[in-house]
């Protein structure tokens, strides 16, 4: 299937390495992407005006339908937002008609045939774990990774249909395919706190701090995310939290395509690992001897 690539608003300027890494990995796995100039998915405006959100999302879906049969996004908030809009438009024909009449002057029409996917779904379902493992030339030396699922892809599950909402596994299995170890940690399905950023910064940071502490307690060395906003929260905001003394130990965050890219043999520089606020490049390095001993003794 050919996918229209929906980067979302924040990636091009704030997290460009996410798009770069995704494109590198996708092209190595022969997943065709089409470029369309999309607008905002509508997620940020949903707090103010539902219809504006729906119109923004629907405009994107109609744009994507023009050039591809599917849409893929690396951002879980964009994913949730677009899935929710598609669901609403299928349930509410009155809204769909109203929006289509507003889209008509732009020669756009949303019919509802578009497949909306997150990059993890494309990797897991379209490519498959076996095919990915076959491309892993340079398996990572068992870095201990806390997988952060991301709320807006997971829930509400009857709309997002991403994975089992109570016990999801696809992200863990994709991470383990690279040679990394996915640690078990209690807060893996909780929110990163970013939706409250600039609305209640204190609470936003507190939620992030709880998660970071939980992951560190479980022995994680890195966080792995696959959402633009989660990455901003665990990279840029975490750095501010460290400077403010909210937390003491940093837990660098890696974007999944970077992790996969490393295991496929791309350099950490090309994957943009050195552009993070909290440097995560060490994930690519072989484990030191004494660390090996420690991790073995810990697991024993």
């Amino acid at each position: 299937m050919k996918y229209a690539f929906f980067a979302g608003c924040k990636i091009p300027y704030y997290v460009p390495q996410y798009e770069i890494a995704t494109r590198m990995v996708f092209s190595a796995l022969d997943i065709g992407l089409t470029d369309v100039e999309f607008n905002c998915c509508g997620y940020p405006v949903r707090n103010l005006d539902f219809y504006s959100y729906l119109y923004s999302a629907a405009r994107n879906l109609a744009l994507a339908e023009k050039s591809a049969s599917g849409l893929v996004t690396p951002c879980k908030c964009c994913y949730g937002s677009l899935r929710h809009a598609a669901y609403m438009l299928s349930e509410r024909t009155d809204l769909k008609d109203r929006i289509n009449s507003q889209l008509a002057p732009l020669e756009l029409k949303y019919t509802g045939t578009l497949e909306i996917r997150h990059i993890l779904q494309v990797l897991f379902h379209d490519v498959g774990l076996e095919a990915i493992k076959a491309r892993v030339k340079n398996p990572l030396d068992a870095p201990r990774v806390a997988v952060h699922y991301g709320c807006h892809a997971l829930r509400p599950s009857r709309i997002t249909d991403f994975d089992d909402p109570d016990n999801p596994t696809i992200f863990d299995r994709l991470v383990e395919a690279t040679g990394a170890v996915s640690v078990k940690w209690p807060m893996r399905l909780d929110c990163c706190g970013n939706p409250l950023w600039q609305k209640n910064d204190r609470l936003s940071r507190f939620l992030a701090a709880k998660k970071i502490t939980s992951a560190l307690d479980a022995g994680a060395e890195y966080l792995c995310v696959s959402c633009t906003y989660c990455q901003i929260q665990f990279d840029q905001v975490q750095q501010a939290m460290l400077e403010a003394g909210d937390i003491e130990t940093p837990l660098p965050s890696i974007l999944y395509p970077q992790l996969l890219g490393l295991s496929m043999g791309f350099s950490s520089k090309r994957l943009g690992l050195d552009t993070h606020h909290l440097n995560a490049s060490s994930v690519a390095l072989p484990r030191k001897k004494e660390e090996d001993v420690r991790s073995v003794s810990e697991s024993a």
Partner: protein, 589 residues
């Protein structure tokens, strides 16, 4: 007399206007950084930066920028070919006219040897210039009319700019055409250069004059009161006379002035009436008056971009450790950027949240209009509340995607300006709309909000029926208060005594909605501290769409802000209260 007075008045206004605009670059305060800088510091900052640039490697980048983006306008070409052709036609045509015609001082030219306005190639080149400008303006009008988003964003200032330029060029062409056909001008010239007593009415008595008139009628397009029958003998003689009196030394045949000549042929049937009515004088006045008005209006119009945009483009290249990145220079650059915008609206056409303007008709959402609002705000320290609310709505609907900055042909760092709008708004006590809605809901909760039991509020039913957009928002009636939503909420889990911090908790909000307790629900911190993680909705055994309902309640609260804003605006404009659309949204005409 008229010419001199009008010329000096318009020139004075022009220079005063330019100085006024340049002064504002050093005095306007845009964003927090500017409030820490003095005007003196900003002037010296620019001086340092200019000196640094002139005597460092930076000069190479400035020269390169000058050729690539000022002369060739690559940034426009990159965005849109039609627009580039349009702009290049106007730009090059105008430059041609300016150097060959505007500064020619009527007959002699300060720089070009052998220049004479009625000789080729000048006669021809002037028309080429006019043709280019007119063609460019034609494309501009066509684009403004046919590109959907652009049409809506075309205002008086854009129309004036096109109209003044068009009037100048068209009146120039008409002036030249009316001179071509004018027998009166012919007579005056003959009197000046041949004999003071010559009258063209006496042509039948003067065969030499008749020959010359026949020659000019056939070859130069003059229309005489009575048509002269040309024959080859007369024309041959006429050609000799034309040379003998040295007419041909100063006059190329006007066919080269293709626009004016074509116009003169088109008007030839009425040429005599035109000449007798004084068409030449009329078009002369129109042409010069329009030119002088254009000159005086230039610093106050979008034409000022012919100075401000190149300066902005050239100033842009100083980055890194150069003095261009001094805080004083950032303040100056931002102030200058407000003038460098020529309102091409490219940013708005490409804006990520631009489509939201279709559903929330607030022009402050669109970058090309937001820059005007910022200017408006910087110049007026005391704007009315509704105006600031409107600007705040636009300032925060932006997702900071940086696309506007990437596509701006003037190289304006728009994203940076939007951050300074937010700083300005915060300085005046206007937070982002989400917080604005929360503050209003919390402030209006009233004394009843703390009562444990409240009678059925009058808007209970309306409230329930109003929640229509979320997926089955009315599912809150299914709630049997099992508290699962509250127990799984990560925000509730952050507090030891959540009710004290958050007011109604999720299950209480769902339950209270059943009673229609609007104010109590909207004023719960819980509503505003929700992270939208959907844990509650996923866990609800009764399929209540808890998160969706909370989303929609925030919409309800924000509607209150909008309604208030509209009512205030309606009072200001003296119109009746409007609830659907903000009257300020269409304040520009």
């Amino acid at each position: 007399m008229f010419y001199d007075v009008a010329y000096y008045i318009s020139l004075t206004v022009f220079f005063a206007g330019v100085l006024w605009r340049i002064r504002s670059w050093f005095t306007r305060r845009v964003g927090d950084v500017a409030h820490e800088q003095t005007t003196f510091g900003r002037v010296t900052g620019v001086a340092k930066s200019v000196v640094f640039t002139l005597f460092s490697k930076q000069i190479v980048y400035v020269i390169r920028e000058f050729f690539v983006n000022v002369m060739m306008q690559y940034k426009i070409l990159r965005e849109n070919t039609a627009r580039w052709i349009m702009h290049m036609l106007v730009f090059a045509g105008f430059l041609l006219l300016f150097f060959l015609h505007v500064i020619d001082d009527t007959y002699s030219h300060p720089w070009i040897d052998g220049y004479f306005s009625t000789l080729n190639p000048w006669l021809f080149l002037r028309n080429i210039g006019a043709f280019m400008v007119l063609a460019g303006l034609g494309i501009a009008v066509y684009r403004r009319l046919t590109i959907q988003g652009l049409r809506k964003l075309t205002y008086a200032m854009d129309r004036y700019a096109i109209a003044i330029l068009a009037i100048i060029i068209v009146s120039g062409v008409l002036l030249e055409a009316s001179k071509i056909v004018s027998h009166r001008t012919f007579e005056e010239m003959a009197q000046t250069y041949a004999h003071p007593d010559i009258r063209i009415a006496d042509w039948e008595d003067d065969p030499e004059l008749e020959a010359l008139m026949a020659y000019w009628q056939e070859n130069y397009g003059v229309v005489f009161p009575e048509r002269i029958e040309p024959d080859s003998e007369k024309l041959e003689w006429g050609a000799d006379v034309n040379d003998a009196f040295a007419c041909s030394m100063c006059h190329s045949r006007p066919q080269a002035a293709f626009l004016s000549y074509a116009t003169s042929r088109a008007v030839s049937p009425v040429a005599n009436a035109m000449t007798n009515a004084g068409a030449e004088t009329f078009f002369w006045y129109v042409h010069f008056l329009a030119s002088f008005i254009g000159l005086a209006y230039l610093p106050f119009s979008k034409f000022f971009h012919i100075f401000s945009t190149p300066i902005r483009l050239l100033a842009k290249v100083k980055t890194g450790s150069a003095p261009g990145s001094l805080p004083a220079n950032i303040a100056t650059l931002r102030a200058m950027e407000l003038d460098a915008c020529m309102h091409c609206a490219n940013c708005s056409l490409r804006c990520s949240v631009g489509p939201i303007f279709e559903t929330i008709p607030n022009q402050a959402i669109l970058p090309s209009e937001k820059i005007g609002d910022l200017k408006h705000m910087v110049l007026n320290q005391s704007l009315p509340t509704e105006e600031l609310l409107r600007i705040a709505e636009g300032a925060w609907i932006c997702t900071s995607c940086h696309r506007c900055t990437d596509v701006c042909p003037a190289g304006i760092n728009l994203q940076d300006l939007w951050f300074s709008i937010r700083e300005e708004l915060a300085r005046r006590g206007y937070p982002e709309p989400y917080v604005q809605a929360m503050k209003k809901a919390l402030a209006e909760a009233g004394p009843d909000a703390d009562l444990p039991l409240i009678p059925h509020s009058p808007h209970g039913k309306e409230m329930k029926e109003g929640l229509l957009l979320s997926e089955q928002a009315s599912t809150f009636t299914n709630c049997y208060n099992c508290m699962t939503c509250t127990n799984v909420c990560p925000v509730v889990a952050c507090y030891d005594k959540p009710s004290r911090e958050l007011g109604f908790l999720p299950n209480q909000i769902m339950h209270a909605l059943g009673f229609g307790f609007r104010d109590q629900v909207l004023s719960s911190r819980m509503l505003w501290d929700c992270v939208t993680c959907y844990a509650c909705q996923e866990a609800c055994p009764q399929n209540v769409r808890v998160t969706d309902v909370l989303y929609e309640l925030r919409n309800v609260a924000y509607q209150d802000v909008r309604l208030e804003m509209n009512d205030m605006a309606a009072k200001t404009t003296g119109e009746g209260p409007q609830t659907k659309e903000c009257p300020m949204d269409s304040r520009r005409t």
